[in-house]
Symmetry: C2
Subunit: 394 residues, 2 copies
Amino acid sequence: MMTPRRILSLGLAVGLAASTALAQAPNAGGRPRSPNDTLKSVEVSPDHKVTFRIYAPKAAEVSVGGDFAGGGKLSKDEQGVWSLTVGPLRPDYYSYTFNVDGVRTVDPKNPMIKQGISSLDSMLLVPGDESEFEATKDVPHGEIRQAWYRSTTLNEPRRLHVYTPPGYGEGTEKLPVFYLLHGAGDDDSGWSTIGRAGFILDNLIAAGKARPMLVVMPNGSLPRPTNFPRITPGTTPSPEARAAMEAIQNRFTDELLKDIATFVEGHYRVLPGVENRALAGLSMGGGQTLRVLTTHPDRFAYVGIWSAGLFGGNPDEWEKRNAGFLERAKSVNDTVKLLSIRVGDGDFALAGTKSLSEVLNRHNVKYELTINDGGHTWINWRKYLNELAPRLFR
Amino acid sequence: MMTPRRILSLGLAVGLAASTALAQAPNAGGRPRSPNDTLKSVEVSPDHKVTFRIYAPKAAEVSVGGDFAGGGKLSKDEQGVWSLTVGPLRPDYYSYTFNVDGVRTVDPKNPMIKQGISSLDSMLLVPGDESEFEATKDVPHGEIRQAWYRSTTLNEPRRLHVYTPPGYGEGTEKLPVFYLLHGAGDDDSGWSTIGRAGFILDNLIAAGKARPMLVVMPNGSLPRPTNFPRITPGTTPSPEARAAMEAIQNRFTDELLKDIATFVEGHYRVLPGVENRALAGLSMGGGQTLRVLTTHPDRFAYVGIWSAGLFGGNPDEWEKRNAGFLERAKSVNDTVKLLSIRVGDGDFALAGTKSLSEVLNRHNVKYELTINDGGHTWINWRKYLNELAPRLFR
């Protein structure tokens, strides 16, 4: 397995044009040596403890936070290096950022970055048995492709990511396709960085646990109208706000079912038929998935709704507005072989998920609800992908 | 054309699971509003001026620097927002970082990041006529694929990037292949982020200016032995240091010619023959390219050596050690249809490039030397790619 430490330890390979390489090295140009030149961050020890370090001799306060317990203030040594050790942490990928005197910053010493459209986070891996499913292992690897399609909905070229399984490029067979959606503030790269989607699929396919499939990861963050209504969290939105939200969801539904599916079916070897199509999404992407399901229940035989649910916790109004879908429960149950709803017990989407479950119960729509530990984090979403993919297209 | 501003303006698309989306919005959780919530950085104005901003109320000094003139100290307003306007800048991509009280940091508000193995930089685009060649335009786009091969040289799975031109996935024709190398401290992703390689090729191919080709972008940063000798810039290295440098270059040559080429020829539709293979690299990658050329002059018909040259500025010793190659000048001239050597007049590799040119002259090895404006920057390397690609495989 290749760990981040392995990647960090590569160092600078000095070539024949060594003056070139050296001029980019940390201590070029006669600058005095600093503790920062050899500083290591993040450092994961064999006992799964994690040490964060940052050189900030003039800072008054430095803290670190992420999707793990034990973050908080770092302490400073006499050289100006701040550090904090947390853990031991359960083997997994984690994301974190520093806060240096009020400035949120990624770890300047760690090249593993997760980019979104509205945030940057540093990433780290605690290697171990529990993270083997998502690790970069010595198994056949598929490709992660960045492709561009023309969005007629948005009238612009738009990017998506596609996972193609090992051997796809040399093969001729058609494959089932799994559309996998990210959350708010993110873009189509998220599932291939902190989401580890390609590696999770590689490992499942190598172990014979999942069928080879394409995984299409679109950019679900659409432009929002400038007059988009302001919605206060925890309150029930006005009818106008709700209408605006649904309008933007419908726009994404168009984008997915028309532009993206048309591009995918025209450019990749895809098996036809609803039984060869799956759709899942997390958080905002879970809401998009639910909207696609209720407006087009005949399009996907496998559906995953993760860390999402009904807005405002009021199921009655949602029931009313989705009567058309709910009345078709019998045919929905025939088409949708698996509707998997998942959320963590510490996730703020728990109440909304329970509301969704309650309405589906009233109308006998078949689904599975699984509530596990944890919160609104990629720790859960990677796990959900790893557990859903083996059940698709069976 | 899609500019970074367009990407930044997408905002958060709020879905049906709106509580979810809102909980990730800047002002969730009742936290007091801050100027940072709506801060925009980087901002490029229609007159090509660029404004950098960062919220750092407790900082004593903030500066910005990158591959443009006019960087330096920012000034702070009463709300704690630091800003500096530079330019107008010539339309192009630029990279930059902030320095906040001695801590080097990427722009927390700018999602466009260039990652290397030893550095992170923020990126910006000044749109305009001069940057059209590298812009994301409404033309057919190829794919950028992340693929993994097994390195027998390093005994591990290793990643590379491959550009496949528009239509490759649906086609059956074989294509020529261009191996394109990055510089020190970087990895196989560099040419696809700040290097804009895919977009440059897309635009050239759409305009009929370049032949469709595969572009293979390997990771040239190999692990360096822990006892690697220390080399002081500007001095002539010891024989031991030189031997160590050549050993690591030979290792990359093996990696490229055995592992990478074998993988590429086994997994992609590649035309056989030296006349269908090109190799170019920048800085450390230019040094690697030169080493491949001198040790295997029969493998590539098109060669580009960019911002690289002879180490230490002493051509005589290099001439002696490469006598075998230089004596074969006639057959090299027959095989290598184009040896293009390029460097900026402000590049520290200028002297080494001139030394290389001098030795090649002595032995009548055919080459082109072009010295243009500018330094050791991606501004030049993107330009070199844009000017070399149309001349390949003709």
